[in-house]
């Protein structure tokens, strides 16, 4: 058991995310679908957490608390996946290799248990980033 684990992160689409997004990004469905990180059970074991535990994911660009779940589509050890959307984009590095496209897939992240931390809502993350969040920290 270690306190931290470094994984390779990819952020891509999922049908659950697509459906929830069309229902609305402020809905509980969108929160459920996107505020998660999928990682291999072996990596969870290394990190000393059970599935469905909150973890803090940190990259060169930022940090976000999400729930670690077992992959809905098999993810090998060493690879982690956050579905594209608000939570993923808190950690996606904006570097583009001069092509215009940020590094949405294939960037290192550190994952650590964050059992007592709360997952922020989409609105809190985005409005909070630009100083418009009025809802407090709950």
């Amino acid at each position: 058991m270690t306190e931290k684990i470094v994984l390779n992160m990819i952020t891509q689409r999922a049908i659950e995310e697509g459906q929830a997004m069309e229902k609305g990004k402020t809905t509980p469905e969108y929160f459920e679908a996107c505020s998660i990180v999928e990682m291999n059970p072996e990596d969870m074991k290394k990190l000393g957490i059970w599935k469905n535990t909150n973890v803090r994911v940190t990259s060169e660009a930022g940090s976000v608390v999400v729930k670690a779940i077992e992959p809905t589509q098999y993810c090998p050890p060493g690879l982690a996946h956050i579905r594209q959307g608000v939570w993923a984009n808190q950690v996606v590095p904006p570097r583009t290799q001069s092509t215009g496209v940020p590094q949405y897939s294939g960037f290192p992240v550190t994952i650590e248990p964050a059992v007592n931390e709360k997952i922020k809502s989409a609105l809190e993350l985005v409005q909070g980033a630009v100083g418009l969040w009025k809802g407090g920290n709950s």
Partner: protein, 457 residues
């Protein structure tokens, strides 16, 4: 009696399905049922009648709250903001029709703006590779009728294009592929065992980010050379076997997605995919296609190439000519370098889909969102302008992922007083001409159509 409308287009993914059936209430105002659509398409059709949908523009107040304003005020604010800005960025267009895109392009030219679309964070690298290496592509109809080896490289249509496999690529029975799935060999290349990979005969679970190596291995084998025992985490025997399948196919189809363009290598991954397609054509017929994400994201590439000569990242701020140089004139790079002083988000949600740091930069300046729904970009905007939903309340031309234009229908009336993207931006253009006391250099499409009909007669 409710009315059944058939052959309706679906405004979600790049498959642009045009076989949806929608049951509409007798007064033509409500959607009761959809048939044939996937779960996501179904959600879009039903969401239009959601009571939470905004029907008036909302302006941000100094205290951070929002206040409803009239459409005239919204037009005036947008026009004035664009005139005042030295270099505005107008971005989006994942979800609107070609008519709306050309209307926004007229505004962009007037404003000396940078005009960019979602390809900029999606298939932009594919454009770069296509400029360099060509695009030996075909239509989805040809895929359905001819292709017997299908390669899904870095794409997961079971999730991102839910009906793609049943309409075009894996299951349908075509003219020369009359046994459907039985007739096809499916190859999936993905670092995860996705739901598409589960349908494949060969799944290459490559090491993430090593796409170029694996493409190169396939090219090497097809040119008759040997490869190492393992490439990108995939066994030589499996590569040889799949290469043999490709060589002996009657028609190989390569679909590629974000797995190639979002990761290290970017355009180089697509470049070598195109080279592989070219190599395959010395053995059999082969074709390649980008899995475009939205139902009309191929549209701006078509419309703006016709208007300005470039598909995306178009810098019109020079006033004399259009300039395109992704990396310099692309939305994320412009935002990160603080080179734009106004942001207009049209038919997309940059708030949710840009890296958050880019949003922080853009939000230092006026931020306008034109989109039918509440989204992240609308909730941080200084002005949010709701518009009609294309494909549901507004007809128009859309380009499917294979660049085939399709006329989408309107199935119900939009909320009263809510304009389409095209109408809103035509008003902005007129207002900009009034404010700057200049003559319009473009006619709105509808006026243009009337003038040309008149001239013909």
């Amino acid at each position: 009696m409710p009315k059944l409308i058939t052959q309706v287009g679906c405004p979600y993914c790049g498959s642009s399905c045009d076989d949806i059936e929608v049951l509409v209430s007798e007064d033509g105002k409500r959607i009761l049922e959809t048939r044939n659509a996937c779960v996501i398409g179904n959600e879009i059709f039903h969401h239009v009648s959601s009571p939470d949908r905004p029907k008036k523009p909302r302006m941000r107040q100094p205290d951070g709250s929002t206040k409803e304003v009239s459409y005239d005020e919204a037009v005036d604010f947008t026009a004035r903001t664009l005139i005042k800005a030295k270099k505005p960025l107008i971005y989006g267009f994942g979800s609107t029709n070609c008519e709306g895109m050309s209307a926004v392009a007229r505004v962009a030219e007037k404003a000396g703006a940078v005009l960019d679309n979602c390809a900029s964070i999606c298939h932009g690298p594919s454009f770069l590779a296509i400029f360099d290496n060509g695009y030996p592509s075909c239509t989805l109809g040809e895929v359905k009728n001819r292709a017997d080896v299908i390669v899904f490289w870095g794409c997961n249509p079971m999730h991102a294009h839910p009906r793609h496999t049943s309409r075009y690529s894996i299951f349908p029975r075509g003219f020369f592929t009359n046994k459907g799935q039985m007739h096809r060999t499916i190859i999936s290349i993905d670092p995860r065992e996705t739901d598409t990979a589960k349908l494949a005969d060969y799944h290459f679970m490559l090491k993430q980010g090593h796409d170029y190596d694996l493409f190169d291995a396939f090219r090497t084998v097809l040119r008759g050379h040997d490869i190492p025992a393992e490439v990108a985490g995939c066994k030589r025997e499996m590569i040889l076997e799949a290469a043999e399948k490709m060589r002996n196919a009657r028609f190989v189809m390569i679909f590629f997605g974000m797995g190639c363009t979002h990761t290290d290598g970017r355009n180089h991954n697509v470049d070598i995919a195109i080279s592989l397609t070219r190599d395959l054509n010395s053995h059999t017929k082969a074709s390649i296609m980008a899995m475009r994400g939205h139902y009309n994201i191929a549209g701006p590439g078509q419309v703006w190439s016709w208007q300005f000569g470039f598909p995306y990242c178009i810098d019109l701020s020079k006033g004399t000519h259009a300039h395109m140089n992704p990396g310099e004139t692309s939305s994320i790079d412009l935002a990160m370098r603080d080179e734009v002083d106004c942001f207009v988000n049209v038919g997309t949600d940059a708030g949710a889909h840009f890296p958050i740091e880019a949003i922080r930069h853009l939000k230092k300046h006026p931020f306008i969102t034109v989109d039918p729904n509440i989204c992240m970009a609308s909730e941080i905007a200084d002005l949010h302008v709701p518009v009609r939903v294309v494909g549901v309340e507004e007809p128009g031309v859309v380009y499917r992922m294979d660049n085939v234009p399709i006329q989408f229908k309107k199935v119900i009336d939009g909320p009263e007083g809510v304009p389409s993207d095209e109408e809103f931006f035509d008003h902005v253009y007129t207002r900009m001409c009034e404010l700057t006391q200049t003559e319009p250099t473009w006619l709105p499409v509808k006026a243009h159509a009337q003038v040309s009909t008149f001239a013909e007669n």
